[in-house]
């Protein structure tokens, strides 16, 4: 069970939170072209690397927060996790 660094509650089991997804800026609906809008709706970077994403504390603080997670290793950074994943390199 992945530990997610909730900035309000501390490290929590991932099952206490909901993964919202990659964070993207919502275009202005009045000026966006259909292509821009649908890029926002559907296209994703889906990198196997550091990704800025949103999580929501469904069973803790009910806050949305952004973190950087490496989707290949599941490490978090910024807000810095204590050490390297609780002191582990794994």
């Amino acid at each position: 069970m992945l530990l997610v660094p909730c900035p309000y509650c501390g490290p929590r089991n991932a099952s206490d939170l909901r993964h919202v997804g990659e964070s993207h800026v919502r275009p202005d609906p009045n000026t966006a072209t259909p292509e821009e809008w649908r890029t926002y709706l559907y296209l994703r970077d889906n990198a196997a690397d550091w990704t800025t994403e949103t999580w929501y504390g469904t069973r803790c603080c009910r806050k949305y927060f952004k973190v950087e997670r490496n989707t290949a290793t599941n490490e978090f950074r910024n807000p810095p996790m204590p050490g390297n994943k609780l002191g582990g390199k794994a």
Binding site: R18, H19, P34, R38, L43, N46, A48, T71, A72, N74
Partner: protein, 438 residues
């Protein structure tokens, strides 16, 4: 070809697999030839297919078989079938929700049905029936919807009541006071399971016989493009010239992305962005017991599906993990949830033991449908976004992608699945009732 001819046949092809051949080998201690050749990597091909799974291999097979295009290389960064093709739960069915989905998967089922003879390898297709359980009024309504769409397209599919469910699968608990009572099921007799590795090896062997090359441990590091609007000539308006691999550059006018789990990363190499998120899907298998489960059982609302192999193992799968992730290590919470749901459906199996768990990567799209065909980069085609249903679609995808490449036109069966639909907003209706179905 004589019974004891153990070398190449008069047509230069290896001997067929048969009971007689097995018998002869048993008597003489003779050896079977290599299932596919080990040949040097060339500098150039007519078509390069990235991904040596069932989709890539089937595409290569049908390019050679149906269109005579044999100067083809299939590249895999590991070994053939190492990705989703070897990690899925090997369920096949065609009872989808939309007419376009039904037609497509029905063609796949047809190809699976003839595969043992077509490929001369026993893929052990077990047409044992497929049950999707409904635990609520609304689920039952969706089952009826699927059944009706299926019936109109001559797919054998109907909604049955709990007693009929019990007759087919006696181990299910159909008591109405269960927390997730079984209120009925969508029954699809042509659905079943198949030996997924045999499908991979069969296509590889068939493609090899026709001159296609399989190159394992050959990782694509970049896709070479020219003329595109992005950096290095990538992106819209450009065209493909080849690929860069860990074994050197290879040129080709056509490069096909047939990967799952790495679809976004490969497409990025050509400057093509996809509507995909990658999430692991977990699966597990129990120790074998004497066979007691005769059909494939799926519960959409409990996110679980189970079948029992001829070896007696229960094979389970689940929904995709709740966050994007390229990590295929198994998780404990998956097995806990899975066991809980299975025991609600079949309380009698509590003493069976989970032997092994694993995960595969699924490329999820917003409308639960694949992305197939041309991209804004000329010569770069995709067959991606297969979510949790890629294995079922392997044969038909290969057939249709081969036609797409050979004719340079989108075949009718995959007209609903272009990448461009995410620019026009015309998503596929499988999103309509996004109940999990496997």
């Amino acid at each position: 070809m004589g019974l004891f001819n153990l070398g190449r046949g008069s047509d230069g092809r290896p001997p067929k697999y048969s009971a007689a051949g097995l018998f002869a080998k048993g008597l003489t201690g003779g050896e079977w030839p290599r299932v596919w050749r080990d040949v040097p990597l060339k500098k150039s091909y007519d078509v390069i297919i990235i991904g040596g799974g069932v989709h890539g291999l089937a595409t290569a097979y049908y390019l050679a078989t149906n269109h005579g295009i044999t100067n083809v290389a299939v590249l895999d960064k590991a070994y053939l079938g190492s990705g989703g093709s070897g990690r899925n739960t090997a369920i096949v069915r065609s009872n989808y929700l939309t007419p376009e989905g039904v037609a497509f998967y029905d063609r796949s089922l047809e190809l699976y049905n003839g595969m043992t003879e077509d490929l001369n390898i026993n893929v052990m297709f077990s047409e044992r029936g497929h049950l999707t359980l409904a635990h609520s009024d609304s689920a039952l309504r969706t089952m009826h919807w699927r059944a009706e769409v299926n019936k109109l397209q001559n797919i054998d599919s109907s909604v049955i009541d709990p007693q009929q469910v019990k007759e087919i699968v006696p181990s299910l608990d159909i008591s109405p006071d269960a927390h997730h009572p079984i209120m009925g099921a969508l029954y699809h007799p042509p659905g079943g399971i198949i030996r997924h590795d045999a499908v991979v090896w069969g296509y590889a062997r068939g493609a090899d016989h026709r001159g296609v090359e399989m190159h394992q441990k050959t990782e694509v590091l970049d896709i070479l493009c020219e003329g595109g609007e992005g950096p290095d000539g990538k992106g819209a308006g450009g065209k493909v010239t080849g690929v860069r691999t860990n074994r050197g550059d290879i040129s080709a006018p056509v490069v096909v992305n047939c990967t799952a789990g790495w679809a976004s990363l490969i497409s990025d190499m050509a400057g093509v962005r996809l509507p995909i998120t990658t999430q692991p899907l977990q699966a597990a298998v129990t120790e074998p017991t004497k066979v007691f489960l005769p059909a494939v059982v799926v519960s959409g609302s409990l996110h679980v599906y189970v079948s029992q192999t001829d070896r007696g193992e229960l094979v389970f799968g689940a929904a995709v993990d709740p966050f994007t992730n390229y990590n295929v290590r198994g998780s404990l919470d998956f097995t806990e949830g899975l066991a809980g749901h299975i025991l609600e459906l079949m309380p009698g199996v509590s003493r069976m033991r989970l032997l092994r768990q694993w995960a595969g990567l699924c490329d999820m799209t917003p409308d639960y449908s694949p992305v197939m065909g041309f991209t804004p980069v000329e010569g770069f085609l995709v067959d991606v976004g297969w979510g949790t249903y890629g294995f079922k679609a392997g044969p038909v995808s290969g057939e249709q992608m081969a036609e797409c490449i050979a004719t340079n036109q989108t075949p009718k069966l995959i007209e609903a699945f272009p990448l461009s639909r995410f620019a026009t907003g015309e998503l596929v209706g499988e999103k309509g009732a996004a109940a999990v179905g496997h």
